[in-house]
């Protein structure tokens, strides 16, 4: 893997860099601009614009000019129970997907790190969910969950576990069913990241610990986990963000139904913006989502990092 070749540049590279910086800064600008301009115009700019929009009454297809309305959108949002319900669902979904995703991926990565037969097959299969378009993942699981023609209900019938049900339209089953799909879709990427992290853990330490009579669990706790931690934290944080912001999977599976039980915040904001044309209000939702996610992540990362010092 290329990881191995990734070595920190030695310190003796530093003086030449300093020289080059003074000598050819316009050269660097020339290299940077082609990417910098699109980033500024189409990413940073729209982000700031989006934040500003949240303080306006912008709507689609309106002739009168957009006005500043201060924090009115946010005040409305605070009282919008539908939005907060959607937000709650979003958090349940994000945690419900991220945690099993991590645990299952860790298990698979540990297995793949062993010298097992069929390892190649698992690696090859792990590609499938990762490479698939999200829309196809959604369609595929609709086929699995399909009440009559679906394989899930048929398997349950074969096993004598009842007649099964209409998973995606049941008020109680829709969210769990959708969460399983989320776990399936995101597991491979997490596995691959963790596996790469595992392969960076020092093998000699493992052997030494085994010689000293440490059991598998102790070896994992004292040797593997400390080395794996940074990767695990990074991928979990990223997964949480990605999951919270996910859209296509649930749009295809349930489109937020039944009765809004799977209406993630992204679906809610999408409808608000592009079905009802409430750009300002939807932008305010986006801002709230970013704010809450940032706070949660900060708490998570600070908590984890502190825990690391003690362990």
């Amino acid at each position: 893997m290329t990881v191995v070749t990734e070595v920190r540049r030695p310190a003796n590279g530093a003086p030449s860099q300093g020289r080059r910086r003074r000598g050819g800064d316009h050269g660097a600008w020339f290299l940077v601009l082609p990417a910098l301009i699109p980033i500024l115009v189409l990413s940073v700019g729209p982000l700031l614009y989006g934040v500003l929009l949240a303080f306006t009454d912008a709507q689609s297809g309106r002739t009168e000019p957009t006005r500043w309305i201060g924090g009115l959108n946010f005040r409305d949002l605070a009282q919008d129970t539908l939005f907060w319900e959607s937000f709650r669902i979003g958090l349940v979904w994000a945690v419900g997907v991220t945690v099993p995703q991590f645990l299952l991926a860790l298990g698979l990565a540990l297995l793949l790190n062993q010298k097992l037969r069929l390892r190649w097959l698992a690696r090859a299969l792990a590609i499938v969910p990762w490479a698939m378009p999200e829309v196809v993942v959604g369609i595929m699981w609709r086929l699995v969950y399909s009440p009559d023609a679906g394989i899930l209900n048929e398997s349950l019938r074969d096993l004598g576990l009842g007649d099964g049900r209409d998973w995606l339209s049941g008020l109680g089953t829709a969210l769990p069913a959708v969460i399983v799909v989320g776990v399936w879709a995101g597991m491979p990427q997490t596995t691959v990241a963790l596996l790469a992290g595992l392969q960076n853990t020092p093998r000699e330490l493992h052997e030494a610990a085994a010689l000293d009579g440490a059991g598998a669990w102790r070896r994992f706790r004292t040797v593997t986990w400390p080395a794996l931690r940074p990767v695990a934290l990074a991928i979990t944080a990223l997964n949480f963000i990605w999951n919270f912001n996910s859209f296509a999977l649930v749009y295809v599976l349930t489109n937020g139904g039944p009765g809004g039980r799977t209406r993630l915040p992204m679906l809610f904001a999408y409808e608000e913006a592009f079905r009802y044309g409430q750009f300002g209000y939807a932008a305010a939702m986006g801002c709230v989502m970013v704010a809450v996610i940032s706070v949660l992540l900060a708490l998570f990362l600070v908590g984890r990092l502190k825990g690391g010092d003690e362990a």
């Binding site: 399909s146 790469a196 296509a248």
Partner: protein
Amino acid sequence: MRTRTGARIGQYAALLAYLLFLALPFLWLISTAFKPPRELGSLHPTWIPENPTLDNFRQAFDEQPLLRAAGNSLLAAVCAAVVAVLIATPMAYVMARHRTRLARAATGWVVVSQAFPFVLVIIPLFLVLKNLRLINSLPGLVTVYVVWALPFALWMLVGYVRAVPAELEEAAAVDGAGRLRTLVSVTAPLLAPGIVATALFAFITAWNEFFFALVLLKSPEKQTLPVILTHFIGAEGVADLGPLAAAAFLATLPSLVVFAVIQRRITGGMLAGAVKG
């Protein structure tokens, strides 16, 4: 000794469970794609179609403009991948080799851009593109895809650039090669595999992308494959399962093939960026 064998058996059982969990849904998709309507309507569906048929594929092409949608997707994805790599490579080079404030800001942007929900970006982008008359057009979509692919492309490319020894470039400079010359004839060839992998990854993300295409493309003759696929699902959520499965299966093939080619490099690239941080 016995516990070791026991552990081994446990490991294989776990691996088997993973394999089934990963593979079965996909096998079911394939199985459904080849089933005639009578078996699809049956109350006791089987894993292996009893009378496999290609009718679903024919019907899928009849019902929805799949070929044109695939063409749109291909065009958008290729353009996005090429442009993204063309503009990201020089920037990644600067980010990897120079510890300037700009490089640090760019790294910060790469990280922060991951955290923002698309809604917050798409609404203003929608308004901007509308003013530029780029709504409902593939160039508009490509523009969005390029910017969207940039963070990850930069992330990967910075890792690849760091793996090229700076000493080689210094040697070229000593020999009198200019900066551009060095970049083109020394660094680029060494970077080529990484650049190709990055481009292919950008291709897959664009090929698979749904949300921006849904928002930005309104007329059916411009829509991309994922958007067209959702048209198979009717308003009430009723779907013609056979053709739906057939079309979904076909839409996956390009991503699968490309991904199989670059999987190792993606893994490496992801971590090359991450390890450094």
